[in-house]
Symmetry: C2
Subunit: 235 residues, 2 copies
């Protein structure tokens, strides 16, 4: 299955952006009569037949339209401090999208080494991972905001967690997360959350959790949290 | 906690390799009287005090020695086809070591785009991830061998799995893996295992499993399998 991304694609206006057209017709050399899948990243999946492979004016005939393709009855929001090395953050976005995530936010923390962070490049990574893993819902990437602003904002989450390192006995996320919920989990920077931040999050109802026995890097922890929440919903 | 790697460190010969000595005394500027942890990667963890910070002749006094540090009552062996892009294989090694793994093997598959693969660089990544995640057992990296040789070799695994993509209904690894076992799981290349390979593995007792709803890249699948097996043993 070949999946292309066309944010403005509709039944009335079945148009593929120039870059995706080029990729389909020039790079992959797909021809008239062949089938491709197109998503708008909003849950719609179109199975289309190429009826004109003219690079300037390609045309696609919709053979099938599925709305809410791959819709899940849970919602995963990971809020993470960007890693010092931006490659590691890009990697975590790619992996979370593959595993299944709805929203990724970035937070400025007391111990953050990187307080500023541009999310532009992440959009591309997000699109590419969505296509690669054959999903029809493009996850949302939210700009970086201060920790306190994030934890106090009005929310629609059912279960809120904060993952951090200290020695204190905590529940495993895999034990305490219930299926079919709207989850939010906070993951701290390389130097972990400050006690002030942990206190503030707890006051706002975030439950301290452990992700397992291993000490994980920031990006691994974010990915592991996302994976655990997906696994819980498999059963 | 600062962890250094000294494969030949013993109570009788408490010596740190030159590179690690440099890192401790020159880069991190640790001084006489300070404590560092040293592991031999074979399960021994030494808490030592620096008694001489002479770069040429450093000396460490062992304050505590723990053998079988972090010993687990399960064993994870992932056998994976190297990815076309070697960075992705390096990344998977780092992440599996962080999450907890015992052995990583590489396999040549029918659809492998990369049939040859050097594991030298992976040793370094393995050591660095072991130190970073504060483990005292260095995972084993095994050289690439043909798929058929791997699946038919005499083994000591309790549960053997093969993860692949097709549409056929399979059990989730998270449902079928039992705690406290010696596991082996096979992960295929970008083009997946061939039907011939799946058949051969099944004949050898490898059970087909699904890692979840998402279509994952090779390196993500290997990491996800390792993570699932760790989670199962948390309960």
């Amino acid at each position: 299955m070949l999946l292309f991304y066309a944010p403005d694609f509709t039944t009335d206006s079945p148009l593929l952006p120039e870059e995706e057209t080029r990729h389909a017709l020039k790079v992959l050399r797909l021809e008239t009569g062949e089938f491709i899948h197109i998503t708008d990243g909003k849950g719609n999946l179109y199975t289309t037949k190429i009826v004109s492979s003219d690079l300037k004016k390609p045309r696609f005939q919709i053979m099938q339209h599925q709305s809410d393709y791959g819709k899940r009855d849970y919602f995963i929001h990971v809020a993470v401090a960007p890693t010092k090395n931006p490659d590691r953050t890009e990697w975590l976005v790619e992996k979370c999208v593959e595993l299944g995530i709805d929203t990724i936010s970035f937070i400025q923390c007391d111990h953050s080494e990187r307080k500023h962070f541009k999310t532009d490049r992440l959009e591309k990574i997000c699109v590419s991972a969505m296509k690669q893993s054959l999903k029809a819902q493009l996850p949302e990437i939210q700009d970086i905001i201060p920790f306190e602003k994030f934890v106090t904002k009005t929310d629609l989450w059912d279960q809120k967690f904060i993952g951090y390192l200290d020695e204190q006995k905590k529940y495993y996320l895999s034990e305490i997360a219930k299926p079919n919920q709207r989850y939010c989990i906070l993951i701290g920077p390389e130097g972990d959350f400050s006690p002030r931040e942990v206190g503030m999050a707890q006051q706002q109802g975030f439950i301290p959790v452990s992700l397992g026995e291993s000490r994980l890097r920031t990006e691994t922890a974010a990915m592991a949290a996302c994976h655990i929440l997906n696994i819980i919903n498999q059963k």
